[in-house]
Symmetry: C2
Amino acid sequence: MHNYKELQSLFGAKLEEEISKISQRTPRYLYDPVVYTLQMGGKRLRPVLVLMAHELFDEKIENAIPVAMAIEMFHNFTLLHDDIMDNAELRRNHPTIHVKYSSNTAILSGDAMSILSYEYLNRCKCDNFREIFNIFTQTALKICEGQQYDMDFEREDLTTVDDYLNMIGLKTAILLASSLKIGALAANAPKPEADLLYDFGYNLGMAFQLRDDYLDSFGSTSTFGKNIGGDIVSNKKTFLMLTAIERAKGETAKTLKHVMSSGNIKPDDKIKQILSLYDQLEIGRLTNEKMEEYYNKALLCWENLNVPNNKKQNLLLIANKMMNRTS
Amino acid sequence: MHNYKELQSLFGAKLEEEISKISQRTPRYLYDPVVYTLQMGGKRLRPVLVLMAHELFDEKIENAIPVAMAIEMFHNFTLLHDDIMDNAELRRNHPTIHVKYSSNTAILSGDAMSILSYEYLNRCKCDNFREIFNIFTQTALKICEGQQYDMDFEREDLTTVDDYLNMIGLKTAILLASSLKIGALAANAPKPEADLLYDFGYNLGMAFQLRDDYLDSFGSTSTFGKNIGGDIVSNKKTFLMLTAIERAKGETAKTLKHVMSSGNIKPDDKIKQILSLYDQLEIGRLTNEKMEEYYNKALLCWENLNVPNNKKQNLLLIANKMMNRTS
């Protein structure tokens, strides 16, 4: 069995080979941005999950490389197009494609990446290809749906915590879930095990996103790697903010609304005031509880997985790593 | 055997059913633009070609509906994203999606359409699905490449007639070619016949695009349906303009360059002067000859097609209809 680092470096080598082939395709302005995007790096979490799930049932992990590549390509495509839609200027400390090249280039190269992901998928030699194709395509559509809900949320006044959880499920958790399920199916895993892996990935993805929300308000810059309070300053509707809106009553609700809608408040003051309201409303504790709820569901799936412990140990290590736990 | 009109109405009915299903999907802002785009109409040429090619080898054309739907969906996706990139405000007399909704909506709904085309593709029950999948995906990539070349051309000073022919091949002709080939393969057609159909569609597509270029300069508004001279006014690098640039020498070359780069010339005068240069350089005749060359190649493929004449007659009628001929 391979651990995360080993799978990451194994996949990384294969990816480099593919990048070098893509860089020879023409026209340059279509494929250069694809290469640039793939070379930006990243943890390669999704393809590693594909390979890891595959290895639980079949040690010939090279058979799962095409689907791992397809999923990494698709994931990077969504980042590329999301960056246009979100007007993001940086991604992993590099200028985004629409900034470095142009919006048109970012649109078209993204389109090509989406199609390339299907080119890789079609290299998969497994018996149950049609089922894998179906899960891949349904997952891809759901990610688009998640992105649309995310954009809708920024326009709509009312958004519930449940709507938010549904949105991050579509936008983030489902791809982790499907990566595991597809990896397992490519190894002809029994359906119940493939489904447990899906649920494990889904709940882990939800816990991971809630952790990200939590750290944006309560983390320290050194562990979080981004500036703290970004979500608060931009009035982003996260689990924290929506829970606060749902719980705040009377004067607290008024203050919350006032701070959120005040145009001339300094960012640092806004963060301070919102954090103080979060304290009053116990938002930190509630977020942690929700995160734990999902994480525990993931653990339960992991326990029920009918695979020897020594084989499935690496999956637990990934889960802990994602949640930044030491055990 | 069904003729164009019959296949168009048969496909139209199936498309309506699918549109009605898509309109029930959520979120609305993701799927409404998909429905709007599909309902804009159009000749449904590509799906009709799929069905017609299928019927040459197998009369159960309902088996080819999923691939016909996939191709029509993909074609409409490319129109949607091209309209953003070209800043087009109207499509078939309706406001384009990025005008009616927003650029972000147009990007994301287009992404969903591209994925939906694969959802339809995966409903195809044919034995040689993997081959069809491969042709579909390679065609999709080539269309992106064609669009990129098209955008590159507008920036680059030098573009040859050959580059142009390559570009319209990728952007337009290949999808017609693949529609026929995929339709035939879905009916288990012998490979040589599927390849002849591909070549027939490719050459017909090339002839059709050259005819479009020709009519933009030499047509009459009543038969062309758009304003004449649009390409000339916008200095568009068409077969006509590039041939003129390649052939013009001495004073004629100077005049051509001057008229093209002059900023304060009235559109009508520009059209008049360029048309006069086209006359001198025999651009009309040369374009017609090139068009005939492709059309005759298409006819040769049609003749060589090993299918009884009464079956393949409808294909010839489509070709004539596209070239606006009466026989």
